[in-house]
């Protein structure tokens, strides 16, 4: 921005509308989100076909199936992904699935928060760690996932706390059933990075869907849905949980309202405020341009 000679022009109302301090917008958004969180209105949440498909992908499996959950979310999106993970875990526990989770560093550090919330469900269903569910520490991307589905024992032999697989009936059972893909009925992944979706589709759906009928669902951020939707339309993915909204829809379908559902009110209100601000800015811009055009040339 080169220094322009200062044109002493009087600030009109339209100029002011264009340069409202952005901090006012921030404060308005924060305040409205906080207030509506404490006093929720309960605005309606329509349930999309995509959410229904995601729910049914899990719901139509027989009990005793194996669900593999890959977590790859960063700390910033715990508000989006934790409710999704909790909903899926609750659903799996209710359906008596065998649950195997795997992830790299960050989600392991975040898992205690989730465990705290699903503890009652685990106890009620008599889930025993090592027999009915397990959490593995496996860092690495696509090549590693390929190996996991081929033979998980070749990748790791201990769980996240260093407990050997030989002491875990679940993992021994998986080994006895032959290649690992025999013991994978559905894969659920959560990610904040676009590359994971492509990799999961390649390694899970493309390689094994025809062979074993494995299903693939995932929770991704809303911003990634346009890029991932082709996979869903083509049947490569059985369902996509559309970020926080998707988690809220899932909670509704499951009949266990949780953290995600509370967020939808905040979402509606905050988006409307943003729209209002945007409209104000554009009105200012247009009126200014209009008044400028009507003034004879020479004003600036």
């Amino acid at each position: 921005m080169a220094e322009k000679p200062e044109l002493k022009e009087k600030k009109t109302i339209w100029d002011k509308l264009q340069d409202l301090p952005v901090s006012s917008l921030f404060i308005l958004v924060i305040l409205s989100m906080s207030i509506i969180y404490v006093y929720p209105i309960g605005l309606p949440v329509p349930i999309t076909q995509m959410a229904k498909d995601t729910f049914n992908a899990l719901n139509t499996l027989p009990s005793g199936s194996y669900i593999w959950i890959y977590n790859a979310y960063a700390t910033g999106s715990i508000a989006v992904h934790e409710p999704g993970l909790i909903a899926i875990l609750r659903h799996s526990i209710a359906k008596h699935f065998k649950i195997i989770l795997w992830s790299a560093d960050t989600p392991i550090m975040l898992f205690p928060r989730v465990l705290e919330k699903i503890k009652p469900d685990l106890d009620r269903a008599n889930y025993v760690y090592g027999k009915d569910w397990a959490y593995l520490y496996i860092p690495g991307g696509e090549p590693i996932w390929a190996n996991i589905l081929q033979d998980v024992w070749s990748v790791v032999t201990v769980d996240k706390d260093g407990k050997p697989f030989t002491q875990m009936p679940l993992m021994v059972d998986i080994k006895n059933r032959g290649p690992t893909y025999n013991s994978v009925n559905i894969v659920f992944f959560q990610t904040t990075g676009g590359e994971t979706v492509d990799g999961m589709v390649r390694q899970v759906n493309v390689r094994y869907h025809q062979m074993t009928g494995v299903r693939l669902i995932g929770q991704i951020l809303e911003i990634m849905v346009p890029a991932a939707r082709p996979y869903y339309n083509a049947g490569n993915m059985d369902g996509i949980m559309n970020g926080g909204v998707g988690a809220a829809e899932y909670e509704l379908l499951l009949g266990r309202p949780g953290a995600a559902l509370k967020v939808t009110d905040m979402l509606s209100l905050a988006q409307l405020i943003v729209l209002a601000y945007w409209a104000v800015g554009n009105v200012g811009f247009f009126m200014k341009r209009y008044s400028r055009a009507s003034v004879p040339k020479g004003g600036g």
């Binding site: 901090s23 508000a79 809303e222 970020g243 905040m266 979402l267």
Partner: protein, 222 residues
Amino acid sequence: MEFIDIVGVWIAAILTIGITSISFKETFFSRWSEVTYLAMGTLTSIVWFPTDLRRYVLERVAPGGAWIPLGPRGGYLFVIFAVLIGIIAYGRYSRKYFWLYRYYLSLSVGTGIGVAMRGFIGANFLDQIRANFLSLVVPGDAYTSFNNTVMCVVVLSSLIYFIFTFKAIENPTVRRISIIGRYFMMIAFGVTFGTGITTRINQYAGRIEFLIIEWLGIKPIA
């Protein structure tokens, strides 16, 4: 709740407010929060060092391995060489030995390029071409026919926009097509931008939730 937990919640709340305040204006408070975050991010690599050392170095030279540098676990020689290269990377601090780290880099970049090339040729190129094979006339389904036509127009016109070296793109007709492509891309960008706002609101909701429930201790009305 123990004292240490209460301290923890307060620190977390202060940092949440401090990091948020960066987007408002630069103040001492915002700088302090940013520096704290920088410290926490940087020290993570120090904290993980023993674990990484054990996992990627010590376990790989555990007894019972081989000296031959091949195979999934790698031989002793291979690991020792890797350790040397890793340490050599610090040669960047010396003007005389700065070329040493290029050995590390060349392997690293070679891997990246190889992975990208082999992945993109199928997923980004051929699969996408195949996805274009859409029928423009689906009997008895005007809606799908229309959708397919639109898709083909968008893909082809956008592709023309990206051509660099053919003189033909200066031709007014071709130019007009490429501008149409650009307009379609702009709509798509707008849609993604809009969904971006939704994503971020959802993510920030988690912080507000934390402040209200854990810090202020207010129970929302069900």
